[in-house]
Symmetry: none
Subunit: 228 residues, 4 copies
Amino acid sequence: MGDIEEAATVLTRILEAAAEEFGRVGFSGAKVEAIARRAGVNKAGLYYHVGNKEKLYEAVLLRLFAQVAGTLEEAVAQGGDPGQALGALARAMAGLFARLPMLPRIMALEMASGGAHMPAAALAEFRRIFTVTRDILARGVADGSLRPAEPVFVHLALVGTLIVYSLSEPLRRRFADAARDLGLSLDLPLAGVADFLAETMGRGLASEPPACPPCAAAFLEEADHEDA
Amino acid sequence: MGDIEEAATVLTRILEAAAEEFGRVGFSGAKVEAIARRAGVNKAGLYYHVGNKEKLYEAVLLRLFAQVAGTLEEAVAQGGDPGQALGALARAMAGLFARLPMLPRIMALEMASGGAHMPAAALAEFRRIFTVTRDILARGVADGSLRPAEPVFVHLALVGTLIVYSLSEPLRRRFADAARDLGLSLDLPLAGVADFLAETMGRGLASEPPACPPCAAAFLEEADHEDA
Amino acid sequence: MGDIEEAATVLTRILEAAAEEFGRVGFSGAKVEAIARRAGVNKAGLYYHVGNKEKLYEAVLLRLFAQVAGTLEEAVAQGGDPGQALGALARAMAGLFARLPMLPRIMALEMASGGAHMPAAALAEFRRIFTVTRDILARGVADGSLRPAEPVFVHLALVGTLIVYSLSEPLRRRFADAARDLGLSLDLPLAGVADFLAETMGRGLASEPPACPPCAAAFLEEADHEDA
Amino acid sequence: MGDIEEAATVLTRILEAAAEEFGRVGFSGAKVEAIARRAGVNKAGLYYHVGNKEKLYEAVLLRLFAQVAGTLEEAVAQGGDPGQALGALARAMAGLFARLPMLPRIMALEMASGGAHMPAAALAEFRRIFTVTRDILARGVADGSLRPAEPVFVHLALVGTLIVYSLSEPLRRRFADAARDLGLSLDLPLAGVADFLAETMGRGLASEPPACPPCAAAFLEEADHEDA
DNA sequence: AATGAATGAGGCTTCATTCAT
DNA sequence: CATGAATGAAGCCTCATTCAT
């Protein structure tokens, strides 16, 4: 005992250090030496535990994606109508990104690499993640509250926006002073983006409210005249 | 003759090759040797023209960002009401990304690096780019067609979504077959995303249409009853 | 066992190989590859131990200068009147140069480079080295055996001559045959130079011996006549 | 016309620039590009004029050594007794070094390289240079004013000291402040060294003045007793 | 003669990975 | 398990030199 715990702790420390390092500088930019130092283990020790840089990266991906999928499922399971669920999704993702700043970076870098290092097992996590959005939309269309829309578009509109907003933080911060002259606030918190998305996408995807009868009648009449 | 032309061509060839390489594998992943080979010049020749890897990268960024700013400005200048202008913005960006597949990748990678290699001159281009969105929104609020919204949020909702959709292409393609079982189409063209954004963000940002008089009257009456 | 010994040995071997290489061709002429080969280690191994070419050079300088200072102090500590001490100094230096042929070369090359790579720590060794000569001269002036003279001039007359004589060896050797026609022996051993310096500088710096009484009397008388 | 002048001027400018560069950083440290820039010609133009780096270096050496030989011969030809001639030699050399600061550096660096790049023609200049010292000494022994001594030792004692003093200037300057605490003046001008050498070597090489007769008699008597 | 543009060879350094203890 | 010490394979960059104009 202790031993196994210790072993688990060491592995965890390594994975966390690696996540930070990979998120900071990407796969090719990350140095095994730096990860080992950050994790407080010897370089050779790291190899003993994880095999090699590639396997380490895959383990990091798997761990993170599982966390993402779990968090999103949980957030959506809280209930609420489909519109609210989309908002919950965005807010949950923003929460994740705030807690794990390396997460959006790794997601972006991994996508940019074309999934070069994506382990097969991670695909299963993807499936879980996409399913969440798809189910919300299906529910919304079924109950008439949402217009039909491609789930991938909706999903990436939410997640993509949050990723890029997180990613751009250092740049926005650097540009913030100069941007104030333009009347732009570049340093708003990520949570604000989630709220914005919840509101704007919610409205944008909402089905038209049924017009009041007199209006509808007037509208139809007009249309008749035009046709004539 | 052709001397000056040739020289310009060489630099251009180098910058294009570099853009592709940097977009493919990022700054640290890119190999100067590969860029030179791709550009059809000797490695030393490349150094003769561009100084070093870092300067090369900066030149690439500057060139691309200038292209982006120019294209967006042009697209929006075509006129149209603010809602249409946002759509034009999204479609212009999508067009750029389709023509220059390395562009969204470089943008993402550069953001991920915290702008580590961003030349000061590139900030000026950023200013132009953000200004476009800000002006559309200001116009929309002024003429009453749009709700007020943070320009940065809107801008990144459009651009971020397009970036991540582009970025995720290889991964979506790889996952496409498996996703069909889930009822998901992962391989829709980027233009579809632009249309989706134009539609959804347009609706989401539109100000409420004034209700028809009878409805409004009915609504007010109801409110009176509730107050009582 | 032997680990620590071996490790120490490796560093020592590297420093010795580097000293020879730097002495042979100077800093810019020395190739890290050659030093590593000569030391029997891998190039990367050399970097593991010493960091980089510059640090390697500094370590070499420090080691050599410490040896010089130690040897000179020891030689002079043997006692003897100031005139003998200067001779001992010259002979000790000549002995060092004979044992470490790269030493005069490195000293010359380092001076020629303006001390570009001189580590701050080496200045402390310089202080020790110069102090030796200064103390001898001070002692000689105090006991009346030596004329006052600038310590730096004396020091560099001894050391500079020995350095240049050592440095010029290959050239003298090459020129030796042709020079015999001129009645010049260019291939005399360095020890001869030390003896020559001991003798000549000894005489040159000696205070006038008190003339014998009759001579002095005669001299004074003459002076009187001249004054008159 | 003009053309040939111009050509001559260009070559001269190149040789001067090269002398400074080689003196500053040695053969391997010197960059053809830097020499060309300093001489105000194109790199390819430099090659057109001088062939290659090695030939350029040889031309520089030849030019400098011829200047040295000429100056020394001239200085000594001014006449004066052998002791004064040695002083004149030292002062002439010091004058040369003051006017051409790269000269002592190049001499040292060339010696350090074992004459690797020394052109055969330069040997003839060496012969002239050494001959000067040899002749003075021979004259001094012949007229009884100087003790016999190896010409090479004397020559290098003078020249070597001046070379090393010149060479060490930057280092002495850097160390000067710290050395003042030790009672050392490290920043005395080179001319002082020449004077010191003239004085000290003059005394050191002077033949013994004949002792006054009574003293000599006493001395001989003492020696007899010791023998007994 | 002069110049901008190459280019091959080689040098310094880094880094993922392994080995011996 | 842990660690200091290797090592081969690159990667970035420089530089002497040449070529075409």
